[in-house]
């Protein structure tokens, strides 16, 4: 893989101020209380109407290791990551050399000057913003915990002066954050003011990096994907969450619990219309969800690579015995334990064909928190309709970082699609019930819930081979009939799954195929390529199995770039297997260093490939 380009290579002395287009990065020590201060910074910018995208780059650790919070501000709405830092808040001595090294020429370093900065950390092409954070806090606060925590608030106050953050927005954020704990509001505002005053008195404010109020976040929200998933599960009618704690999926169930406690309490009795079971492991977590799905309640589990590996046998059972279950896979870096707190799209192949034998699983690929909410709710309908597992393939980047997206909405006329479930009355009206009979010719059989009818509709669910009436069989032809019917069901699935998002102009010879969080970089790539005279069509995949239009899209282009956030070009492999696409029709763009792929990386890979393409391909739009 190509080494990411370092900031200095892009050197540009900022002669003119950068307005609403720069990157601020906070280098902290985890466990030092920086997270809420940094969040406040990002949210203040959001409230000023300016598009902002914060990214956590954090360790698998509770206290003491380096953690970064990278905030991109971009008026045009480019919300993917961008390499190179315009302003570094360097609060971690362990990493300060590397952190200062990543600052773009002409950029700034804010640091705690209570201790002198070592000479070797001086660069002559950047500006230093020394603030004695520790000394200020020692002077102003008595409690040891406040002396530590408020260092973070003081630098946010200073940034407010440096960047022109509306101070009123910050104080309103503090009031919102500590609603119910009013005692904490005044000291926090005091800390903000200390930083603001110090910056105003000692530096020329604002800097060459400036924020200007805008209107680009109207009707938008700033929310992380896992919270949106948890909320989607509440709206989608899930009553059972079974899980085993695993980064980065844990906050899915946290959010489901938080909203259920507010929204799923029976007003008459105060009892709960939801349940959360922290299981002994991921095998049990999915087993519980499958048992519930079999018995007619909507259930889900959330996990990540190591947990999903453990669920394989159960996923095969649910596939073959046709039991609905919803699994959220918040992907992280594998293989094995990998990098638990970094992002990857590394589970495409292992989930598409999860479990032994001929299996296939329904996958959904959300790209934004809004889609996390929608796909979470849709997953329950799809799983009930198709009587098979649905795996929602999010990732750490989407799950654990706040992102700007459109407001969430729910159609109150929508009824849950519980699929083909026969009631007692319906059972009475049919002659004979056969659990796995294809009465409608779409491959989807009818099912019954246990306890539905005294004499009809009982059947035996099993992972062993069965006939159309659910009876055990070792007759190979009968087995094959059932397998063929399930294959037909998966073709029917395409009528229900979300179709790809395609942007196509006639005459473009090149295409770009991608899914999930890669979307955050695409508009920036396209705009930049257009400026260079290169036209490119795009297709964003939202579900697996693939719709026919994906194959057609590839056929309509001379060459298609397939972007994978993994080493082995897993999306490209899936396209090859499922769409029978010739290898030389596709060019892989790979990114697997654990952080979100950048527009610069994608564009560079495309430009690098151009000379090799030969003259036969017209790149002009």
């Amino acid at each position: 893989m190509k080494k990411m380009r370092k900031g200095k290579a892009d050197s540009k002395i900022a002669a003119l101020p950068k307005i609403n287009d720069f990157v601020v990065k906070f280098a902290n020590i985890n466990g030092s209380g920086s997270a809420s201060a940094n969040n406040m910074f990002a949210k203040a910018i959001f409230r000023m109407g300016i598009p902002v995208s914060p990214h956590n780059i954090f360790p698998s650790n509770i206290q003491g290791l380096p953690t970064w919070y990278e905030v991109r501000i971009n008026e045009q709405g480019y919300l993917g990551r961008r390499e190179g830092v315009d302003l570094m808040v360097a609060m971690n001595e362990q990493t300060i050399a590397r952190d200062i090294d990543s600052v773009l020429s002409g950029g700034y370093v804010l640091y705690d000057s209570s201790k002198a900065l070592a000479d070797e950390l001086r660069r002559d092409d950047i500006h230093y913003l020394p603030i004695p954070l520790k000394d200020i806090c020692l002077r102003e606060f008595d409690k040891p915990s406040q002396r530590q925590l408020f260092k973070n608030i003081v630098y946010v106050g200073a940034l407010s002066a440096f960047l022109n953050i509306d101070f009123k927005v910050l104080t309103s954020l503090v009031s919102d954050q500590f609603r119910g704990k009013e005692k904490l509001i005044l000291p926090n505002i005091h800390a903000l003011e200390l930083g603001y005053q110090f910056a105003k008195e000692n530096f020329e404010c604002p800097l060459k990096l400036q924020l200007k109020p805008s209107d680009k976040t109207e009707n938008k929200i700033l929310i992380d994907g896992n919270t949106a998933v948890g909320l989607g599960c509440v709206y989608g009618g899930a009553t059972i969450a079974s899980w085993y704690p695993l980064t980065p999926s844990t906050s899915v169930v946290d959010a489901y619990g938080k909203y259920s406690k507010r929204l799923r309490i029976d007003p008459g009795t105060g009892k709960k219309k939801f349940s959360i079971v922290q299981a002994e492991d991921e095998l049990a977590a999915i087993g519980i969800a499958i048992g519930a799905g079999w018995n007619g309640a909507r259930a889900f589990t959330a996990s990540s690579g190591p947990g999903v590996s453990l669920m394989q046998e159960f996923l095969g059972l649910a596939y073959f015995s046709e039991v609905p279950v919803v699994l959220f896979n918040i992907q992280r870096v594998g293989p094995s334990t990998g990098m638990p707190t970094r992002t990857q799209q590394g589970d495409l192949l292992s989930c598409a064909y999860a479990s032994h034998g001929d299996t296939k699983q329904i996958l959904l690929f959300p790209a934004t928190p809004k889609e996390c909410f929608e796909f979470a709710a849709d997953a329950f309908d799809l799983s009930d309709r198709l009587q098979t597992p649905v795996i929602v393939m999010s990732d750490l980047e989407l799950g654990m970082n706040e992102q700007i997206c459109d407001s969430l909405s729910w159609d109150d006329k929508r009824e849950y699609d519980r699929g083909k479930v026969l009631s007692a009355e319906q059972l009475d009206s049919i002659e004979k019930f056969g659990r796995y009979q294809d009465s409608d010719g779409d491959g989807i059989p009818y099912r019954t819930y246990p306890g539905a009818h005294p004499n009809k509709g009982a059947y035996f669910t099993r992972g062993s081979s069965h006939d159309a009436n659910a009876a055990y069989t070792e007759d190979g032809d009968v087995y094959a009939e059932v397998m063929d019917r399930i294959a037909l069901k998966f073709r029917t699935a395409l009528d229900f799954l979300p179709t790809p998002e395609i942007a196509q102009k006639s005459g473009n010879a090149l295409g770009l195929v991608y899914l999930g969080t890669t979307q955050s970089a695409i508009q920036e790539v396209l705009d930049s390529l257009t400026k260079k005279g290169i036209g490119m069509d795009t297709l964003r995949i939202k579900a697996f199995p693939f719709h026919d239009c994906i194959k057609e899209f590839i056929a309509q282009h001379e060459l298609v770039y397939v972007i994978d956030q993994n080493r082995d070009a897993q999306l490209k492999s899936l396209l090859k297997i499922e769409c029978n696409v010739n290898e030389d029709k596709m060019h892989s763009i790979l990114s697997y260093n654990g952080v979100l792929v950048t527009a610069q990386h994608i564009e560079q890979a495309i430009l690098d490939s151009m000379p090799k393409l030969g003259k036969s391909i017209k790149v002009q739009a």
């Binding site: 349940s275 049990a284 729910w410 246990p450 099993r462």
Partner: protein
């Protein structure tokens, strides 16, 4: 898992129970287990227990794992839904099923390989979770379907048909269940229907996790004179700590029970267990005492059976989680979805 359909005709005067069903209404498909397998006696005991207490077959859900034991649910209550899941994972499936609908009876059938080896973790945790169900282990000390390997419940020194000797101490699921907080723990012998049937009835009526470890000999692989799980040893060495009679809730409790009944235990659903003295004055309310008795008999090479421990007052998972009375699987769209207006308010918290 039978290839042969069971004949459906029966004697016209077959007696009916209180809900008008005959014994035949509680049967399953024809067994495919070996002739003389203890497991078939367990099926027969469940059929008799369910028929005698007039259970509605469709209000029962049967769950199992993998192995000879896990085939058992096919051989009783064919009007009930069944779920033959994956090896050792029945407890999780039972947990989910029970959460989805608290109003059914759940019968879990497992084996010693299924519960004491591959599924030991799940077994421990379903006990902790207090699922309201009857969990039975058909315990034969051997892996039958894979042709006779020793299992984790085989006693030290016990020998299989091929002469293989167990080199390790056994795992006793009954003592484990008591230690982990099961509120109903019994042990029985598939050959002793008189003991097993009322235990099954009491276990079904008990609210909370009811566990019965049933010694159920494998006639093909583990029924030698040197096998502690064979018929010979179990007949000779099982000793009932307490004898149980069961009076279902529907029957008015006017029956004067046999002399010698010394204690009545009223279960959650109004049914009553009558405990009889068996000469040793055993009281099944004290965990320490139960463990002491089981282990003391074990030292003598004997198998303590009967109702070993009971706490009729313990809560089940739904009470622990404080769930609504209505089963989750009957809650409607309207009862579950908070709607768009609430969502608009939630949006505001993300601005």
């Amino acid at each position: 898992m039978s290839y042969i359909n069971k004949p459906r005709f029966h004697h016209p005067q077959l007696p009916t129970n209180e809900i008008g069903l005959t014994r035949r209404d509680y049967e399953g498909t024809l067994t495919t287990l070996c002739g003389g397998c203890g497991h078939d006696s367990i099926s027969a005991a469940i059929i008799q227990a369910a028929a005698d207490m007039s259970l509605e077959p469709h209000r029962v859900a049967k769950v199992s794992g993998i192995g000879c034991s896990s085939k058992i649910p096919s051989y009783f209550l064919s009007k009930s839904h069944g779920f033959n899941s994956v090896h050792g994972r029945m407890p999780s499936v039972a947990t989910g099923a029970n959460l989805a609908n608290k109003d059914l009876y759940y019968i879990g059938i497992s084996g010693d390989g299924d519960s004491a080896s591959i599924g030991l973790g799940q077994f421990c945790h379903i006990v902790r979770r207090r699922i309201n169900m009857l969990y039975m282990v058909a315990n034969n000390g051997t892996y039958g379907l894979t042709k006779g390997q020793l299992s984790a419940t085989a006693d030290l020194g016990s020998k299989t048909k091929t002469g293989e000797e167990s080199l390790y101490d056994n795992i006793d699921l009954a003592t484990l269940a008591i230690e982990l907080g099961a509120s109903f723990v019994a042990r029985s012998f598939s050959g002793d229907k008189q003991q097993l049937v009322p235990l099954i009835q009491a276990g079904l009526s008990h609210k909370g996790f009811a566990f019965i470890d049933v010694v159920s000999p494998c006639v093909t692989f583990n029924n030698t004179d040197f096998s502690t799980h064979g018929y010979k040893n179990t007949w000779e060495n099982h000793i009932a700590l307490s004898a149980v009679d069961f009076v279902p809730m529907r029957q008015e409790i006017t029956t004067s029970y046999e002399a010698g009944a010394e204690k009545e235990i009223t279960l959650h659903d109004g049914s009553v267990i009558h405990l009889h003295k068996t000469g040793n004055n055993y009281q099944p309310y004290d965990k320490e005492n139960a463990l002491h008795h089981i282990n003391a008999y074990k030292k003598e090479g004997r198998i303590a059976t009967g109702l070993l421990y009971i706490d009729p007052s313990m809560s089940d998972l739904h009470e622990v989680l404080d769930t609504v009375d209505k089963p989750f699987n009957t809650l409607s769209n309207h009862e579950l979805c908070p709607g768009n207006e609430v969502l608009m308010g939630i949006n505001e918290t993300f601005r």
